[in-house]
């Protein structure tokens, strides 16, 4: 197969499936009970210098608890995969302050923005500072890269990115199709060191169910060397075995299972609760002022012990029930 050209971006992860196969062979514990606290999961499975990926879609079905814990534990020098990373990127970007550098490299398809809500001032500061290495991709390109890794092959061909600067600043390669002679993008497999996915239900082994859109999480779960699952609810193994067709992530992918009710807050969780648009607006607002931003982070993240403390600082159960009413009954305008 002929390589016609190469993007000038840096490939942050080795796409070789042989190395990945060795890793997956050594992975054990498909039927081990993996229930643990978020603190323990992050301490054990997220290491400085890791390639980290966050599931969901920006502020929809994200694992806020793990993202906050990464901040609290002061993890450094991470590489991050950003396919429509909105509030998740915004949380991690808070770690690039006061001389600290949580984010060091970003595979970027969509960061900084919070879709219709506007751009994050802190996200912009981090991305405009020149302090992190950036490689450009698109949402579909990152989905393809995870697909390749999940399939155990070194790349996936696609017909996007061709002819653009997005390609020039990526680490993709332009190849000639061995069957048709057409130009294609070769998108290299992405095997994150560690990822987190928030799900609706999981058993203690990590057999997971998701409602609503899957985004790229089914491939992300399979592509990741280590996977932390946070779940709205733990369910029994018997329940999982009763409807195996509902399982979308099998337990052999999973390293930790943490039960975190309202775990996607302030993001949306399909069928559970809507996003807290007031809180997200406040977050965007305080980022404009360093002093207020610091106070805000202290109040909600650094000054609380865990995610439960964060929920309490945001209005606790009454607020959660309001967001549930918006999600289920459209009782109030959702922002």
């Amino acid at each position: 197969m002929k390589v016609l050209s190469s993007g000038k971006g840096k490939l942050f992860m080795d796409p070789d499936p042989e190395a990945a196969r060795q890793f997956f062979r050594a992975k054990r514990g498909a039927m081990d009970d993996k229930v643990m606290s978020v603190q323990e999961a992050v301490a054990r499975f997220v290491h400085d210098g890791d390639y980290f990926a966050s599931g969901g879609f920006g502020a929809n079905r994200i694992s806020t608890a793990v993202l906050h814990e990464i901040l609290r534990q002061g993890k450094q020098n991470l590489t991050f995969a950003g396919h429509t990373s909105t509030h998740d990127f915004q949380i991690l970007a808070a770690g690039n302050r006061n001389g600290r550098k949580l984010l060091a490299r970003v595979d970027c398809a969509y960061v900084i923005g919070l879709e219709a809500r506007g751009l994050s001032p802190q996200g912009r500061r981090v991305m405009e500072s020149g302090e992190i290495e950036v490689c450009e991709w698109t949402n579909y390109a990152l989905a393809c890269r995870l697909r390749a890794a999940a399939a155990g092959i070194p790349f996936v061909p696609a017909r996007n990115m061709l002819g653009t600067d997005t390609y020039e600043y990526s680490a993709a390669k332009e190849i000639e199709c061995p069957f048709t002679g057409r130009k294609l993008m070769a998108l290299p497999a992405l095997y994150p060191d560690v990822s987190v996915v928030h799900v609706h239900e999981s058993d203690c082994y990590g057999n997971c169910r998701i409602r609503g859109i899957a985004v790229a999480d089914l491939d992300l779960a399979r592509a990741s060397k280590r996977l932390i699952v946070t779940t709205e609810r733990l369910v029994s193994n018997r329940e999982i075995r009763h409807s195996p067709e509902a399982t979308v992530i099998p337990s052999f992918c999973v390293d930790a299972v943490c039960e975190v009710p309202f775990g996607s807050y302030p993001g949306n969780m399909p069928g559970e609760y809507f996003s807290d648009e007031e809180h997200l607006r406040e977050w965007l607002e305080v980022e404009k002022d360093e002093h207020r931003y610091q106070q805000f982070l202290d109040r909600h993240i650094y000054g609380v012990r865990d995610f439960q403390g964060y929920l309490e600082s945001c209005g606790g159960l009454p607020r959660m029930l309001e967001l549930r009413a918006i999600e289920l009954f459209s009782r109030k305008k959702g922002g």
Binding site: E115, R159, T166
Partner: protein, 265 residues
């Protein structure tokens, strides 16, 4: 943005944004499949669905297929994008449907657009140390590479309509006729319409350069050129954009965006 026009019995008062959304909505034919984002594109698709195109099939890149949108989503992946939907699938499945050739339209925006309909949503200034960093492609490059026809909704000024993009995030006709095909992009695809607060524009059949198709009421071709940082292709025939109907405006204000999240801006 253009001023609100004076209303009369026959032509009610409307804002520039309302005119843009109504004009965009008219371009969507019943039964078509369209990929949309949040904001104005979504409003245009919802309006079309509630007026002339009840069988319009709306898709969202995060995986929502054909929802009956209760109100405007705030994210292309929030619960509303699967409200009473036909399917909740994955991002890969959505873009592969585009790649297979089944998706007719995609609606996009951007910080900059050039005469060939190429878009920049990545940065202003040098890539390594940008003056302004924007989110990046997201799914825009994918939609514009893989759908049949791309439509762009944007305000019209020289800051946005530029001779040269700072960064080519999303492909239009690239460098001109034949360039998309030469780059390997699917044959026969590309930008189709640009809907602004001044006019509806298209692309010249042979040169692939942007040209005016219809001027909004009260706008002249000279004004459009004045607000454009590159030379527009000569247009054979220029019509006037149809004014929003009273029915369109009522549905837009009462059903599509009753809280004026978007129209109010």
């Amino acid at each position: 943005m253009a001023q609100s026009r004076q209303g009369t019995q026959e032509s009610p008062t409307y804002s520039a944004m309302e005119l843009m959304i109504c004009a965009a909505s008219r371009l969507l034919d019943d039964g078509a499949i369209v990929g949309v984002g949040t904001g104005a594109p979504c409003a245009a698709a919802m309006l079309a669905q509630k007026t002339h195109a009840p069988r319009l099939f709306i898709i969202f890149e995060a995986g929502g297929l054909a929802p009956r949108l209760p109100s405007m989503p705030i994210s292309v992946g929030d619960s509303r994008t699967v409200a009473e939907a036909l399917m909740a699938t994955s991002m890969g499945d959505v873009f592969e449907s585009c790649q297979r050739g089944i998706v007719d339209y995609a609606f996009l925006g951007g910080a900059q657009i050039d005469c060939y309909g190429n878009l920049n949503s990545t940065c202003i200034g040098a890539f390594e140390r940008p003056r302004v960093r924007f989110p990046g492609s997201g799914g825009a490059n994918d939609f514009a590479s893989l759908c049949w026809r791309t439509m762009v909704l944007t305000l019209h000024d020289r800051r946005r309509f530029v001779e040269k993009l700072d960064f080519l995030t999303t492909p239009g006709y690239l460098t001109g006729p034949g360039a998309r095909e030469a780059a390997g992009l699917p044959a026969g695809s590309g930008p189709y319409r640009v809907i602004t607060d001044l006019a509806v524009l298209g692309f010249h059949e042979t040169s692939k350069r942007m040209q005016i198709l219809s001027l909004h009421p009260g706008v002249t071709a000279a004004t459009v050129q004045e607000h454009t940082g590159f030379e527009l292709a000569e247009a054979a025939e220029i019509t006037m954009t149809e004014r929003p109907s009273a029915e369109q405006l009522r549905i837009l204000r009462e059903e599509v965006d009753p809280h004026r999240y978007f129209l109010g801006r």
